[in-house]
Symmetry: C2
Amino acid sequence: MMQKNIDCEKCFESPDVIFTKLTPEQLNFVRERHSCAHYKKNDIIFKEEDEPIGLLVLCEGKVKVFREGVGRREQIVRMVKPFGLMGFRALFAEENHIATAMALEDTVLCIIDKDDLMKLIRENSDFAIGLIRSLASDLGFSNRRTVALTQKHIRGRLAESILFLKETYGLEDDDSTIKIYLSREDIANLSNMTTSNAIRTLSTFSSEGVISINGRKIKILDIKKLERISSLG
Amino acid sequence: MMQKNIDCEKCFESPDVIFTKLTPEQLNFVRERHSCAHYKKNDIIFKEEDEPIGLLVLCEGKVKVFREGVGRREQIVRMVKPFGLMGFRALFAEENHIATAMALEDTVLCIIDKDDLMKLIRENSDFAIGLIRSLASDLGFSNRRTVALTQKHIRGRLAESILFLKETYGLEDDDSTIKIYLSREDIANLSNMTTSNAIRTLSTFSSEGVISINGRKIKILDIKKLERISSLG
DNA sequence: GAGATTTTATGCTAAAAAACATAATTAGAA
DNA sequence: TTCTAATTATGTTTTTTAGCATAAAATCTC
């Protein structure tokens, strides 16, 4: 328990986290009232049909949020990075979760339960605006993504996903390796294609010198070309 | 100008509109400060890259919101019915509009400019929560839709769209005709398919006795079968 | 109301992507 | 470590859907 609270500490101090909108008193309230949860790789954080419990702030780790569609085939609808918000959309839409969140690596979450969350929203409009902003950005992302996934061809969709992963998680010190290691299946589920097509197209990109692959490590070799492939569909 | 304000009146009085969250003083403020805009069928309300001006409340009419993708092909991301909210997502995401809104029939909008909107959010947390709720519902819709449009086959996508139109706009007095008349092209753009496939699949549904078509009027004859087609993909 | 334009309808062909099959490789468990 | 299971790789076939063509019907414009 002691350990737990220490693990969330960095998330109260980050300049990127929604908690920066809180007054010192409110931040103390959150420090006292929050709970902290730890997940190992592949652990499920919440799943479709679960009841939402409040606001989840990702302190550490990486998370995929996906929805199961036809024949249990999963489509990743969101990738979360540290200080991103999760789990509160369903609360406000007054429904159960419509997607499943799974840890892609060891993950630490800071949890604000729904009553505490409502209290903060009611007494601090900047905090409320922060939540509005988060939903507004996610909705923009989702709308753009719907069109890209439905209209672009396989190469365009995969190129877009690679660029998206780079934007979201950044690059390692070599300035070219994307800082996330996904299975080909996850890459396929992100890009709306079968696993074999993801594998095939990745190796085509590699043979074209656009990327290089080493197991699950993807290096971007020619970002201009990747952007061209992505935008031409 | 006089005329204009009268046209928005019904929207201040509806039990479904976000203005119900306002205090009487705030409602008066809105009555004084709002502006009212009229659009004819096919008029553009805002388009991609336009700067957002505030909150738009649809008082009367029907609106499609679409995004242009590969080869200017449009994908409808939202259909708006009276008392639905529009145009404020981009404001909070701090970006320009990423989609175009077009009137599908003669339409009346109530416009709250962004400074007035911010004032209302800051002084009334129920109003802020109403906006959060609207975005949260839209985001859920968008995520569900992304998966349906990418994973379902043509028949499933079209069946889903027909059911969605029925849910959104309701039925006429005969209890079977959907209360919106869209071109085959719009139906195609809603369902992620080419116009010819929309036409073809609609006439297949008709010959199977699932629906009947009379020009742009669609009657649902066998809703159970339609639901089955939609859910099986 | 005649002519032009748009929308709807249907058939045919081509392209894209899924499905399937079979290895090779890698990672995980006993 | 060795065996097993999962992941990655690649070739082939089949299905789905887009693209194109043509014509009929409906709508708009002058």
